[in-house]
């Protein structure tokens, strides 16, 4: 039966955020069910599809494989924290312009994961993008337009 709830302090999308969670709840469940941040998606709940990709202290993590209580003291970024107010992140704009989504369920994970790549390597080539994104499954697009969208932003940085 329900375990005792633990208070966890995090920085979530730039804001100091406290939440209560049971030890058995994953970070994914906490984000979606306790904090109402449903932009992070569940596709498999065992770390194989990347739909729940979030940034934990700047690194990509599958939120389904992190416990809520493990987020104590962490700086977490979800898809809801990628845009700057109503100004889309260049990756978000590129995904729209390149038609890099069909159903859109994997899109938050791809954008979060791609951001982590470009934050650390601003000019990856196609092979590097494909390697980096191999942890995110998309069943609609065949990846072509997703890879082009990421490369478009990569090239933009290249052009200064």
């Amino acid at each position: 039966m329900a375990g005792r709830r633990t208070q966890v302090q995090t920085k979530l999308n730039g804001e100091e955020t406290d939440f209560l969670c049971e030890p058995r709840q994953s970070l994914l469940e906490v984000l979606r069910d306790e904090l109402g941040l449903t932009g992070t998606k569940e596709g498999c709940n065992n770390g194989n599809c990347g739909a729940c990709s979030v940034l934990v202290n700047g690194r990509v993590a599958n939120a389904c494989c992190v416990l809520g209580v493990e987020a104590e003291g962490a700086d977490i970024t979800t898809i809801e924290g990628i845009a700057d107010g109503d100004k889309l992140h260049p990756l978000q704009q590129a995904f729209l312009e390149e038609a890099a989504l069909q159903c859109g369920i994997c899109t938050p994970g791809f954008i979060v994961s791609s951001k982590a790549l470009l934050d650390s390597e601003p000019e990856p080539d196609e092979e590097r993008v494909r390697f980096w994104l191999a942890g995110n499954l998309c069943r609609c697009t065949g990846y072509d337009k997703i890879v082009r969208a990421v490369l478009k932003v990569s090239n933009t940085s290249d052009n200064g």
Binding site: D33, T38, C49, F95, Q102, C138
Partner: protein, 744 residues
């Protein structure tokens, strides 16, 4: 892009940003699992650990007594069962007397806490009498096979068989005289082919949330390809009227045919009725594999004969797994397999066979890819034996306007020849393929496409914009393609049309988003709504100008008098005069389309086979397809690319892998290997546009055809690379090593 003939469109053919795009890239779009409601509780499903077992008894008392558990239900609690009328649909939703596949739903629990619901499943006591399972079609068809349903008899046109059987139906398509044609043939080829069950693999698991009200009305939130299809299935299972059920379609995370049948929605409804609170269920990934989808594996024996370079005869026996209940797409496969060609003499025997696996659902051109895997390899062999280029051989035998299909249907204007020409002329096909263990393959594919029913309403706003109200699930950009067709019809801009997908109470009937039908059929409904608005504007202008309607035309977004240049109003000006000219204007369009326009595709693939590891790499891949008119070319390309990559997965890695106990051993995304970004190259697309004469803008369905050729195209490429012909899927490293080195 190859354009055969095309009017000068203003909006059609452009690539605007989709209306629902920003919500989807910012995480704000709400999918089925994202719903939250006051008082919401959670459901979980107990599933059979056995692939074939008689359910002796189910004891739910201990589970029901647990704190937090609100209700438990079984098959007996479904209103259709209470009415004594249970059917296959009900028995698939919750097992009736037998569990027919591992993962078959046995009972459902509602509890205040998700984890408590999950824990309570262990307290439901089910007494099973475990039976031997049967997993493969040929085993299931043989004498002495375990029988899934003792009351089942084979249905044929001649009647029913006498003995219990797993063969649900046997149909035959015949034409001409195959005996004479094969006797007269100068070349014949014959082989057997085996394909495995594969899953649609949508990333979003199934979900269903229901709120049953005390007045007998029911609201359901779900991710589905067809809100109206969910409504009618629920009305049947719950023994109520469709008018009492409101289905609210949430955004959908992929479907490919697999999100048409209901799984969780009826359980949520019954549990909600029992406890008076909204109930939400979401499915685990393993259950998605074990209990939803998939599409059939099967066995095909096929023989083709030619005379003077023309395919003159085809003889086929094919059997597809239906899963636990009848309904495999074997007939669709039978009707598709010869459609790219003119074949006068043919005989096709098609068997629908039940096995102890999940009941199959539609999957992108259901039945066609496995059929093409067989026929397109034989076509390749005939071309090779005749020393003819494989595309030119197909060109020589191609179906064209006026050709008769095996169904007896005479095809209207189609684009197989144009697509072959585009492939022949492509840079890819003319580039050299060099190096050891490398090869190139091609294959054609056909899909019928569907028309069916759609309804839309277009409300004109005083500021000259339109709200387009539609009921077709948008699974890959159809809001954009429909808004574009309305803008084109009315001569306004894309941005002036705002589309919204609404619930079943808010629009007339719409058939499912499937069969590649939405941009075609809902597009025609949109066109009609646009014409309706044009006419209303003309009528009102005639009244304003005190002239005959026949003196007024609607041209390029304006209402203009034929002879008096001073009398003209733009669409926006007329929209602003609604109040003084008769009140609100709404255009309406409904269709029952019977002219979807068939799709033909030709794929070219270069592979490299690693003889040491058995791994096949896709070096280059091109898709040419007759897409009718590409309304939004980016989303058309996306359909071609996505379909091809699903086909690549099917060809190279994907399969339901079963142990002897009938347990699927790879029911996770780790072990069921779908292609990742690293496994595929860019997918080149050639859009051939041969307009469909059965649509105002020439739209054909495009989405399904691209999964038809890849299996055969890749097998043909692997043959070119290795000299070995793979007739069994998947061409996984293990199989490649076993067959190349004969170490099976």
């Amino acid at each position: 892009m190859t354009t055969v003939e095309k009017p000068n469109y203003k909006v059609i053919g452009t690539r605007p940003i989709r209306p629902d795009g920003v919500e989807k890239v910012t995480g704000k779009a709400l999918y089925g699992a994202d719903i939250d409601l006051p008082g919401l509780v959670y459901g979980k499903v107990l599933r059979s650990p056995h692939s074939h077992a008689r359910i002796v008894s189910i004891d739910t008392a201990e589970a029901e007594a647990l704190p937090g558990v609100l209700a438990v239900m079984t098959h007996a609690d479904l209103p259709i069962a209470i009415a004594g009328e249970s059917d296959d649909a009900a028995a698939n939703v919750l097992a009736n007397e037998k569990a027919l596949y591992r993962g078959h739903a046995i009972a459902a629990i509602a509890a205040t806490n998700l984890h408590d619901a999950e824990a309570a499943l262990a307290k439901i006591k089910v007494d099973y009498e475990v039976l031997a399972p049967v997993l493969e079609v040929r085993d299931a068809m043989s004498d002495g096979s375990p029988i899934l349903d003792e009351s089942r008899r084979t249905k044929t046109l001649a009647g029913s068989s006498e003995k219990p059987t797993n063969i649900a139906s046997h149909n035959k398509l015949e034409g001409g005289d195959i005996v004479a044609a094969f006797a007269d043939a100068d070349m014949t080829v014959e082989r057997e082919f085996v394909t495995r069950m594969v899953h649609q693999g949508y990333i979003e698991p199934h979900n269903g949330t229901a709120n049953w009200n005390a007045d007998g009305t029911l609201t359901v939130w779900t991710s589905t390809q067809g809100a109206f299809a969910v409504r009618s299935q629920l009305a049947s299972l719950l023994r109520t009227s469709v008018s009492k059920i409101r289905v609210i379609p949430m955004e959908i995370g992929g479907g490919f045919g697999g999100k048409i049948g209901v799984y969780l929605e009826p359980l949520a409804a019954v549990l909600s009725r029992r406890i008076g609170r909204p109930v939400k269920l979401t499915m685990e990934r393993a259950a998605v594999f074990e209990a939803t989808g998939p599409t059939s594996g099967g066995w095909i024996k096929a023989k083709l004969g030619t005379k003077d370079g023309k395919i003159t005869a085809a003889e086929v026996t094919m059997a597809y797994e239906a899963g636990a209940f009848p309904g495999s797409p074997v007939m669709a496969g039978a009707m598709c397999m010869l459609s790219p060609y003119e074949v006068e003499n043919f005989s096709i025997d098609a068997y629908d066979v039940v096995v102890n696996k999940p009941k199959v659902a539609a999957y992108r051109a259901p039945g066609a890819p496995a059929a093409a895997f067989a026929i397109e390899q034989l076509v390749d062999e005939l071309a090779s034996q005749g020393a003819v280029d494989p595309l030119k051989f197909r060109r020589e035998n191609s179906a064209r306007e006026g050709s008769k299909q095996v169904t007896g249907v005479t095809v209207p204007r189609i684009g197989h020849e144009e697509t072959l020409d585009a492939a022949l002329a492509s840079e890819h096909y003319n580039a050299p393929i060099e190096g050891p263990n490398r090869g190139r393959g091609v294959a054609s594919g056909f899909w019928f496409n569907a028309g069916m029913q759609s309804s839309v309403i277009a409300s004109v706003n005083p500021d000259g914009t339109i709200n387009l109200i539609e009921g077709s699930t948008d699974i890959g950009g159809s809001r954009a393609s429909l808004a574009m067709q309305l803008a084109e019809t009315l001569g306004i801009t894309y941005d002036e049309v705002r589309p919204i997908v609404v619930d079943t109470d808010s629009i007339g009937h719409n058939d499912v988003t499937g069969g590649s039908r939405t941009t075609h059929a809902s597009g025609e409904a949109v066109y009609k709504a646009g014409l309706d608005i044009q006419q209303q504007m003309i009528t009102r202008a005639a009244s304003l100008w005190a002239c005959d309607e026949s003196d007024i035309n609607y041209v390029d977004g304006a209402i203009v008098h034929v002879s008096d240049d001073d009398k003209n109003l733009t669409f926006a000006e007329m929209a602003s005069k609604q109040m003084e000219t008769g009140g609100p204007m709404q255009g309406k369009g409904t269709v029952m389309s019977r002219t979807p326009g068939a799709a033909f595709g030709v794929h070219i693939v270069d592979v490299e086979v690693d003889p040491d590891t058995g791994k096949i790499d896709i070096l280059r891949y091109s898709v040419a397809e007759d897409v009718g008119t590409a309304i939004h070319p980016s989303y058309v390309e996306g359909q071609l690319q996505g379909g091809a990559v699903q086909g690549i997965g099917w060809a190279l890695n994907e399969e339901y892998y079963y142990g002897e106990d009938g347990r699927m051993e790879n029911s996770s995304f780790l072990d069921y290997r779908m292609p990742t970004a690293l496994d595929v190259p860019m997918i080149e697309t050639i859009l051939v546009e041969v307009p469909n004469p059965g649509h105002p803008y020439g739209v054909r369905g495009v989405g399904e055809c691209p999964i038809v050729p890849p299996l055969a195209a890749i097998a043909n490429a692997v043959h070119d690379a290795t000299g070995h012909r793979f007739t069994e899927l998947p061409m996984s490293p293990r199989r490649v090593l076993e067959e190349l080195h004969d170490i099976r």
